[in-house]
């Protein structure tokens, strides 16, 4: 009898797989503890808000979405165990992993082994998708190469005469990799620039006094930092207190997330990147009623305007919805199998709260526009807003498929930065 039931179950399997399930379970890895929770906690709030909104509208293909979160802050083996639990015990349908590139490096091969569709929703290391071709792992946003290249091109376009540069980055993978990308491209496009200091203070350093003294003595024309969170806030505030922000042009590679916290402590004229075209006053989106409603709702829920990790979370959900809808359509309106959803995700174009994004079929890398601007005071806000914003098309600044970023950057011509990029005024 048991054997009979078992055989019946096996036979019925494929048919059940295409029946509508009761829910689409999404497992999300984000930082709920540690310094990176400045990104992770707002992103979690966004995920809850977005899922609620999707469910209000009937869910994905009529199926409600449910969420499970795991804390990236637990790190290492605990993160891997929790990811396995999500997939094997909670039987999620898709995972969004993760913020840290280290977490993505760990979880992407595991997701592949488990045949689990995974959207790398925030991690930036270009090497993950350049080193290996994945079927189940997608990146629903850009990577560090276009993010840094956009910032560099903005600098070269707006301050073409600088002669010296110094860098102050956090001493870990992102700080090192982002500088490697930036400096490699800089040497191609402006080889006469002298790098006067390369400082990599400890991640989470509470004090930058010595670094600031050294920079004040060296007087570089430009200071680049791709630091984030409390580290960036501390560096910029201490530099401001001592007049360094007025002495050198500061470039905050991913400073968009700190603008609201830094308030009026920031001067005007700092160059700020946003890891994508993310800005709550996005020049092409700011009058979109849905965009405005999302921003207002997020602010009402958390007390702050959305930052890039919030928009990245939206992109992961948009990609998920897009993949399911495409797969349902391809499947003649029937609920698709997981493999069909994975097929649909490849080459998918979708829209978050910026320009459309494509997860290119060759390597599953997201092609996402980049927004870079300069700080400007606005009486309507108690913090600096972005002005003279440039919006970079992703194709021209993203490493072509099949190539490694640093190799590609070394082939860029000196006039690469002279590309046409539209500029938008704040409030324009």
């Amino acid at each position: 009898m048991g054997a009979l039931l078992g055989a019946a179950g096996l036979m019925a399997g494929p048919a059940f797989a295409q029946d509508k399930p009761k829910e689409v379970k999404v497992g999300i890895a984000t930082f709920l503890s540690g310094p990176a929770s400045v990104f992770g906690v707002p992103a979690k709030a966004a995920a809850e808000m977005i899922a609620e909104e999707i469910n209000k509208k009937g869910g994905i293909g009529g199926v409600p979405v449910t969420l499970s979160f795991i804390d990236e802050g637990a790190g290492g083996e605990a993160l891997v165990s929790n990811f396995r639990r999500l997939v094997q015990d909670e039987k999620v349908d898709v995972t969004f992993s993760a913020i840290s590139s280290g977490s993505c490096q760990q979880l992407a091969p595991l997701a592949e082994d488990l045949k689990m569709m995974n959207f790398m929703w925030d991690c930036g290391a270009a090497s993950i998708l350049e080193a290996k071709k994945y079927r189940y792992n997608f990146r629903s946003q850009a990577n560090a190469t276009p993010e840094m290249l956009a910032v560099l091109i903005y600098l070269l376009k707006t301050k073409p005469d600088f002669k010296t540069i110094a860098v102050v980055n956090q001493d870990y993978a992102w700080g090192r990799e982002s500088w490697e990308i930036f400096s490699t491209a800089l040497k191609q496009m402006k080889p006469d620039v002298k790098i006067v200091a390369e400082l990599f203070p400890k991640f989470g350093a509470p004090d930058y006094s010595t670094e600031i003294s050294r920079l004040m003595a060296l007087r570089p024309d430009v200071v680049l930092t791709t630091s984030w969170g409390g580290d960036l806030d501390t560096l910029v505030r201490q530099a401001g207190q001592r007049g360094l922000l007025r002495q050198s042009t500061f470039v905050l590679g991913i400073g968009e997330t700190s603008l609201q916290r830094l308030g009026k402590d920031l001067p005007e004229g700092l160059i700020v990147g946003a890891r994508g075209d993310h800005w709550f006053l996005h020049p092409e989106m700011k009058n979109d009623p849905a965009f405005k409603a999302f921003n207002e709702a997020f602010r009402a829920k958390t007390g702050a305007w959305p930052i890039y990790s919030v928009y990245h979370m939206q992109q992961a959900f948009s990609a998920l919805q897009g993949a399911y809808e495409k797969a349902i359509k391809t499947n003649g309106g029937k609920w698709p199998t997981r493999e069909q959803v994975v097929d649909a995700a490849s080459g998918l174009e979708f829209k978050g709260w910026g320009r459309p994004i494509t997860m290119r079929a060759e390597d599953n890398q997201g092609l996402e526009a980049q927004l870079v601007g300069v700080t400007k005071a606005d009486p309507a806000h108690n913090f600096m807003v972005l002005d003279n914003m440039m919006l970079f098309e992703p194709k021209s600044i993203t490493t072509p498929p099949g190539q490694k970023s640093v190799d590609w950057l070394k082939t860029l011509p000196a006039d690469f930065y002279k590309m046409n990029v539209p500029t938008f005024k704040h409030g324009g």
């Binding site: 503890s33 540690g34 310094p35 929770s37 400045v38 992770g40 906690v41 001493d171 200091a197 390369e198 400082l199 990599f200 203070p201 400890k202 989470g204 350093a205 509470p206 004090d207 006094s209 010595t210 670094e211 003294s213 050294r214 004040m216 003595a217 969170g229 409390g230 580290d231 806030d233 501390t234 505030r237 201490q238 207190q241 001592r242 007049g243 916290r261 402590d265 702050a304």
Partner: protein, 299 residues
């Protein structure tokens, strides 16, 4: 290296050493008297910082100058209340038990306090820089410093060192603490209440940690995990100095502060390594620490 860089590095090193000393001396004092390695010391530092920022942000609209007493009040609130509760309810029951048990308890407290901190103050960085803004900047060799960092912090650290020395060597309460540290049984036999001595010492140590955090709060962003980094550095200082050595903690903090500053000017790659490199070298040569002595005097 030219003399300009040397002067700049000395100033930067002094400022950094002052904060490191304030936190590590509390850890050292607690170990010297209670023989407990207090992992929760880092949490007391973080709570001191958060409490100072909270009070500062509250009183700043009344008068920005009130933010200075706010730093001290915050340190006392955390040191007396949180420190007092920790000693009374968690450490007192395990005195005389295995050291690993005490270590586990303080580690558990550290974890709990870390999570509580996120519940109370959230995860977004907090900054309350009023005290730094109120004091003028000073300029030296073309480089601007805040007088808060290069004058006030070293003065407070120096005052703490002198005050602690005076308290322990020239007051009756200090003598009682030293007596319990030297020989608890003999001290108890002549009528000294060791329980009170432990409580007072723990409160002083906790207050010093919180004061370190409170004084750091106007210069740095308060973020989850800030206590972890400080506890690791404090252990390095305390171990290098010799656990229980107050003057040793001052000299070691100065050594680490100066070495770190010089390294940033000369070879910044080594910055992270410096405190631990000094610790390893010292402990290889003197396993009891720079100022440690075998079973003679602990503080």
């Amino acid at each position: 290296m030219d003399s300009t860089i040397a002067i700049l590095a000395i100033l930067d090193g002094l400022s950094y050493a002052a904060l490191v000393f304030l936190v590590s001396v509390g850890l050292s004092l607690i170990f010297g008297v209670l023989r407990v390695v207090n992992v929760a010391h880092g949490s007391l530092y973080a709570y001191g910082a958060y409490m100072a920022a909270t009070i500062s942000l509250l009183v700043a609209p009344i008068s920005p100058w009130l933010t200075f007493p706010a730093l001290l009040i915050a340190a006392l609130i955390i040191g007396v209340f949180v420190g007092g509760l920790l000693e009374t309810f968690l450490l007192r029951p395990v005195y005389g038990r295995e050291e690993v048990l005490q270590l586990l308890i303080t580690f558990a407290v550290f974890m709990i306090m870390d999570n509580l901190q996120r519940l109370i103050w959230g995860v977004q960085p907090i900054f309350a820089a009023e005290p730094v803004r109120l004091l003028p900047n000073v300029s030296l060799l073309g480089v601007t410093y805040t007088s808060y960092q290069v004058i006030l912090l070293p003065l407070v650290a120096l005052g703490t060192l002198i005050g602690l020395r005076y308290f322990l060597r020239h007051t009756l309460s200090g003598a009682v603490i030293l007596a319990v540290t030297e020989d608890r049984e003999a001290a108890t036999a002549i009528g000294i209440n060791a329980r009170n001595v432990f409580l007072i010492t723990f409160i002083i140590g906790a207050t010093l940690a919180a004061l370190g955090g409170a004084l750091a709060s106007p210069t740095t962003s308060l973020v989850p995990g800030m206590g972890t980094d400080m506890i690791v550095l404090s252990f390095a200082v305390a171990a290098t100095a010799g656990l229980g050595q107050i003057e040793g903690a001052a000299v070691t903090a100065l050594m680490i502060g100066l070495a770190r500053a010089f390294v940033i000017y000369i070879q910044p790659e080594l910055e992270v390594l410096v405190p631990y490199l000094i610790m390893v070298i010292v402990l290889l040569v003197r396993p009891m620490g720079l100022f440690g002595v075998n079973k003679v005097r602990k503080i």
